[in-house]
């Protein structure tokens, strides 16, 4: 009889931000099955939203996730503008795009740092988070808060980007572009990182489509989707940029997609700052008619979808939210199974799950159903593997 072990990861995981619980079933070192338990982060946002008026909901949906705190309100205001057929001023569209792309830069750098930590490269973690700080400074300058920007408003944006902010923003972008160059060199050319990430946690194109993954996870598997291009919102159809697609579907491809997307984001912000038209930043919205509307936004993790139905009063009677991690986390069921436990931590983290929503994993012995490892030990195991590979590489030299 085979000897199966269950390893629990989570819910109180020391690093990831959202709570979710993974139960890895292992035989020896192989992961044979995985259970994903979520719900540790359920706060009843959809129901709460039905008790708030339309203007308040923007603040509520902002607090679904701290990292995508522009994507959710952005999708929500898109849905409301679809519902009420509101024409948004040009300047507001550009400002929204700038904020959304700044968020993508900070989110991708954050992921890069955490991924570095998971494979034992704490230097990458410290670097990435160090270079993320200037972006947060820009946010603080524009919106007054480092996170939770409160920029989105039905019909426009709440605050303007002023003339004196633009030069600081451009200077920061130059700094970040240099840092991304460094990351690209340090990560893409490092033989140890390559050995550690190439061919690990593969999600083929067919599997990616079957499991309906979205965002960088799908693009790394060769699925060419991006809401920004397929269904343009904001000012994305007014600037030129590329959708980054990789074929391999492994973690290295996912890392590559995210690093290259940083360049695209920087270029989009620069173009928007140059083209920023003068004028109003919000349209006057007097009344929300009855009807329904949908809003889609490409969040840093993939497509974020909001549906709002109104019956003509001042509150939504139904508000449905689908976050990208909901689709991506499930794909771990194929990408982590078949790999080794030491690769599990990075494979589970590679989809960039919003752990505030998903923070738990465990490894369990399948014959005895005993928990033998927690998330922290799993990360240690992953870091040890990198050390071993490092030693092998230095011997070969």
């Amino acid at each position: 009889m085979s000897h199966k072990v269950i390893i629990p990861i989570g819910p109180y995981h020391p690093l990831q931000e959202e709570p979710e619980f993974f139960r890895l079933y292992v035989e020896g070192e192989r992961v044979v099955d995985i259970d994903i338990v979520i719900g540790y982060n359920h706060r009843g946002i959809e129901e709460l939203s039905e008790h708030k008026h339309f203007d308040q909901v923007a603040f509520l949906v902002e607090r679904i996730c701290g990292i995508c705190s522009t994507s959710h309100p952005f999708a929500y205001v898109n849905a409301m503008e679809d519902l009420a057929k509101i024409e948004v001023p040009e300047r507001a569209l550009y400002i929204r795009t700038i904020i959304a792309e700044m968020e993508r830069i900070h989110s991708h750098l954050l992921w890069l740092g955490l991924a570095g930590h998971f494979i034992g490269y704490n230097t990458v973690w410290m670097w990435a988070w160090r270079y993320r700080e200037p972006i947060l400074d820009c946010f603080e300058m524009i919106c007054g808060n480092r996170n939770h920007y409160a920029m989105m408003k039905i019909g426009g944006v709440r605050r303007d980007i002023e003339e004196q902010h633009i030069s600081f923003l451009k200077k920061t972008l130059d700094e970040i572009a240099k840092a991304v160059d460094m990351f690209k060199g340090a990560i893409m050319d490092d033989p140890v990182i390559k050995a550690r990430l190439k061919g690990i946690g593969v999600l083929t194109k067919k599997q990616a489509i079957e499991w309906s993954v979205v965002g960088p996870t799908a693009r790394a598997s060769g699925v060419n989707i991006d809401v920004r291009r397929d269904d343009p919102y904001g000012a994305y159809d007014r600037v030129s940029w590329n959708v980054i697609v990789e074929k391999d579907g492994d973690i290295f491809a996912k890392t590559k997609v995210r690093i290259l997307e940083l360049y695209e984001s920087i270029s989009i912000i620069r173009q928007c700052l140059d083209k920023l038209p003068k004028g109003e930043i919000e349209a006057v919205v007097k009344e929300i008619p009855s009807g329904e509307g949908i809003g889609r936004v490409e969040a840093p993790r993939g497509e974020c979808f909001h549906y709002v139905r109104s019956d003509g009063t001042n509150r939504p009677i139904r508000h449905k939210v689908r976050a990208p991690s909901y689709m991506n986390v499930a794909s771990n069921k194929v990408s982590a199974v078949g790999g080794t436990i030491s690769d599990a931590a990075i494979t589970l983290a590679a989809v960039d799950p919003c752990y505030c929503c998903t923070e738990r994993v465990a490894v369990i012995d399948k014959s005895t159903d005993k928990k033998i490892m927690n998330g922290w030990q799993l990360i240690e195991l992953s870091q040890k593997k990198t050390e071993i590979i490092k030693k092998i590489f230095s011997k070969n030299k």
Binding site: N41, G44, E47
Partner: protein, 141 residues
Amino acid sequence: MDFKLKALTKSLWVFHAACSPCNNCDIEILDLLTPRHDVERFGIVLVGSIRHADVLLVTGVPNYKTKERLKKLYSQTPQPCLVVAVGNCACGRIMFRESYNSPCNVDEIVPVSLYIPGCPPKPEAIIDGVVKLISKLKTKC
């Protein structure tokens, strides 16, 4: 007891329990460890197990699932232990007060020694809070 409290004023080991937060406070806490703020200078370290910790850091609004987990975590903490509530959610549930999945405040589950409000509190505010906590401990022992 006094001796143990005195030991707590030297180097705080922190365990971070996220009770259905929105991630932001959690990111700001991790941010404290990275080069700009680097609280490891003061001996503050994030640890992987509650049994090694002096401080239980709570973020977010506890829901029915995390409420039990938080109780369990607190009972496993070596005493004396300080509980720090970071963010508006942990301090008073703000807009999630009316939610069907939000049974109570953090301080109704575990005794809280320090509240740091803010959405999310700035890293400077968190450091300031911890400094105040340590100076208060010093007056006690």
